[in-house]
Symmetry: C2
Subunit: 199 residues, 2 copies
């Protein structure tokens, strides 16, 4: 079950060793508390009703985080890729059931740190709390940006923005999920793409 430094991504090491300046010993200790979990494509890391118990780092793969409405429609809040932390902060922090679903879009390899272990470690290595505080702040800013974007721009504007700023997403995520992200039907996305390609 042990995870070796050679098995984690360069970005994970960079985060601890360069960005946050942990010592070798600290990093080794922290890593010893992480455990690896594989989530095959289409399987779930988190389902509505469950309580988030881990900080989860995507070492490999991609996920979608979505809600469902009363008619069974799925609404994707965001996609996540390598070097992102996924979960539901409110559920994790208050240990209450989440309303989010997190599903693997590709086979995923996650690195998990349990809330109890995080708290234990945080006492020994306060800088670890700083790291997650910064991550959480960034994530809250990103949520605010998403809220502004969803409120302010049309599906078409958001599509154009996505294809300009993150064309790589289109290599990894089927269009039907992009449609769920834009909150339109796949047929409408298809229609829109045709209209835009004429111009």
């Amino acid at each position: 079950m042990e995870i070796y430094p050679s098995e984690v991504s360069a970005k994970f090491i960079d985060l601890f060793m360069n960005k946050m300046n942990f010592t070798e010993e600290e990093f080794t200790l922290i890593l010893s508390f992480f455990r690896r979990e594989y989530i095959p494509r289409k399987f779930f890391y988190l389902k509505a009703g469950q309580t988030a118990k881990y900080k989860a780092y995507i070492n490999k793969g991609s996920t979608r985080t979505f809600t469902t409405d009363e008619k069974g429609g799925e609404h994707i809040l965001y996609f996540s890729f390598e070097d992102w932390w996924i979960g539901d902060l409110e559920s994790f922090y208050n240990q209450q059931p989440t309303t989010l679903n997190i599903q693997a879009m590709e086979d995923c390899e996650l690195l998990l740190l349990h809330k109890n272990d995080l708290e234990k470690l945080g006492k020994q290595i306060p800088k670890l709390k700083t790291l997650f505080a910064e991550k959480e702040r960034k994530s809250s800013f990103a949520n605010m940006q998403r809220l502004k974007e969803v409120k302010t721009f049309s599906a078409e504007d958001r599509y154009l923005n996505l294809i300009n700023k993150h064309p790589e997403i289109f290599q990894r995520i089927p269009l039907q999920y992009i449609a769920m992200y834009l909150d339109i039907e796949p047929q409408s996305l298809s229609r829109m793409r045709k209209r835009l390609s004429c111009k």
Copy 2:
């Protein structure tokens, strides 16, 4: 310019004295750094392009926080009332220009704490940092809830939810602004209200 305890709301005192257990001396010191600002109805506390320099507490009144699109349309992210803290956390934290606008819906009396003073005070009274950390965490959870709500539910569902959970808002906010909050035209809201009242 000095603010007396008798001039601040009971909730403001309760926050410091009961919820956070500051001493009289600490509270007096903290209050001495706040300054009062009046924002008449329709005037702005913050405009896109400005940098948020203060933590702002609504002692009296209400505001709307909105973005504008390229066609000049206004999209209200949320309304705020007495005992709320308003601003743009990302702008405040990184001292960068905001994309938000905050406008008084009623004559407002705000209590402002400058970023520099907050940092000074935070060193003397660490618990003050805890207070704002908690407020910021709550606000980030609220933003996430808003994002989920906007993505998951139709304008009609969100209207019904609003009128059920916050009927008092309809006493203070004109319907045309409720429409901007729901991201529909005032005429559509009118039509929707008529349709719903028939049932």
